[in-house]
Symmetry: C2
Subunit: 305 residues, 2 copies
């Protein structure tokens, strides 16, 4: 029997993972408009920006402005703004702006970590330790990159994933997210890896960040659901996720996943009509070519018989 949860937590990553992949600078006011539309649609957790060096990703040069505006506006509500931080400096800057939960990326694959972050896994873990030591009331989510495959070393052994999670937990990580960084996961693999991680770390909140590069975004989501995952990171319109070919999909689109979950009777807290209005804003003002499906199809209402 396939069993599904009653409710799923949707973590929106579009304003970080999506926007950072867009070359033209998006006006800060437009970013904030999309963020506010997503919150109004019911999103309760969102990566709103990334505290990387502006020379590395100029699109994120307004990280402090974005974070401050969102934190000020939604303080005291149940909305949780997240930011990605690559190091202690970024974490301190995020904290100063009011951010109390951050995503920190380390690759299961040593070669990918070196290529992507220019650090060994050990160096990444040492930096993580300095973040949790210096900012003890900052919650840290560990994004395990290349958890399902690496562009350099191919298959990523389950033990590399488990050992990275264990090391992260020892350094104070509160949440773990398995990321299909290059979009090569398959449902069997997702199901098996999730079960292995849950067996090893049963009390650790576990999320999935899945790509739709090869059309398996929702199939992998389904496999994750069947394995017990109730937290998924997705992106408005399918923006971002480093697609490596023109027209290829990257991140799974939030609206595609929400539509599927609602059709299955799984609650997300999101109002799909309002969410689709936010997708339209993104299409009209930021990125005309979206890879999500719901922006092209129409919403289907299950009329009564």
């Amino acid at each position: 029997m396939m069993e599904f949860p009653a409710r799923v937590e949707v973590v929106e990553v579009g304003p970080r993972d999506g926007f950072q992949n867009i070359k033209t600078f998006i006006p800060t006011a437009m970013k904030l408009q999309v963020i506010e539309q997503l919150i109004a649609a019911g999103v309760r957790k969102m990566e709103v920006t990334s505290f990387v060096h502006p020379k590395a990703i100029p699109q994120m040069a307004d990280a402090a402005e974005i974070a401050e505006a969102v934190c000020a506006k939604h303080q005291g509500t149940d909305f949780v703004p997240l930011a990605l931080v690559p190091n202690l400096v970024g974490a301190k800057n995020a904290y100063r702006c009011g951010i109390r939960e951050v995503a920190y990326v380390t690759s299961a694959s040593e070669q990918h970590n070196l290529a992507n972050i220019n650090r060994t896994r050990e160096q990444s873990l040492a930096e993580l330790a300095s973040i949790t030591a210096e900012l003890p009331d900052l919650k840290v989510r560990l994004d395990v990159a290349t958890a399902f495959g690496c562009p350099f070393q191919g298959r990523v052994n389950e033990n590399l994933v488990l050992s990275l999670i264990e090391a992260g937990l020892q350094r104070g990580v509160a949440t773990v997210v398995l990321c299909d960084t290059i979009g090569v996961a398959n449902p069997k693999q997702v199901y098996n890896l999730v079960r292995a991680v849950r067996a090893a770390f049963p009390d650790v909140p576990l999320g999935l960040h899945l790509h739709d590069t090869r059309g398996m975004g929702l199939a992998n989501t389904l496999a994750g659901l069947a394995a017990g995952v109730t937290m998924f990171e997705t992106s408005v319109g399918g923006l971002g996720g480093c697609p490596f070919a023109p027209g290829a999909a990257g991140n799974t689109a939030t609206e595609d996943m929400v539509n599927m979950l609602h059709a299955m009777g799984v609650d997300t807290g999101i109002d799909l009509d309002k969410y689709l209005a936010a997708v339209q804003t993104v299409r009209d003002h930021i990125q005309p070519e979206l890879t999500g499906h719901m922006v092209k199809a129409c919403k289907y209402e299950n009329l009564s018989e």
Copy 2:
């Protein structure tokens, strides 16, 4: 536990369902070239054409020529050419060309059957009875259209599907295919309907014809696999399936499904590289805009660790 079969039968429908949705007439030689490339890639069952009236679908005016050529060339091999037939006249024409297995469409929804075929369900079933009576050694697959939802009546009750299958079996149908005609199925629904059909008709070969309109093509495939289905109808490049909006996906792309199945260790008998070469032919000579994912992504080889 999610369990998956060792092998899946891929039924290619691109040269029928895909080509019939293309407005410009595709030269018969080009159609035959794609069909031959698909067979060379390992496809062992394929809808090669449709014996509809050429006034209804001019693209299928060369049905007899296509069927005769393919039947002559592959007689005595393990390749099975299929054709869609809308009525007894079409079935006789197909039979005359050498076709020994046909697809016959009836909608679970009365309103859709009237709109699509201009017959009541009862009239469709009477025509079906005349086909099986007049051509007793022609195998008939019953394509149950709108099995998961109807554009006119919305939700389609499970009993409408079960009663249509029962009526089809009484009239000599050999195989049943549940079709997500308008791309609104969700994985939970697929799983539940397949289990209900298998429980009611445990000995009847059952296939699924799934669309990717809302990004759920492979998720629904996965749900079907988990429910025990081992026969899936898909289309080269994702051609066809009546997408009702520009850019929207219709049929699930064969190459996307094959890539997923192979990654999961499920055999299909198809050589993905050769199949992708056929997709390129379709893209270069028939339809430049394909909705399948694998034509835009690259194939990912799981290198050794």
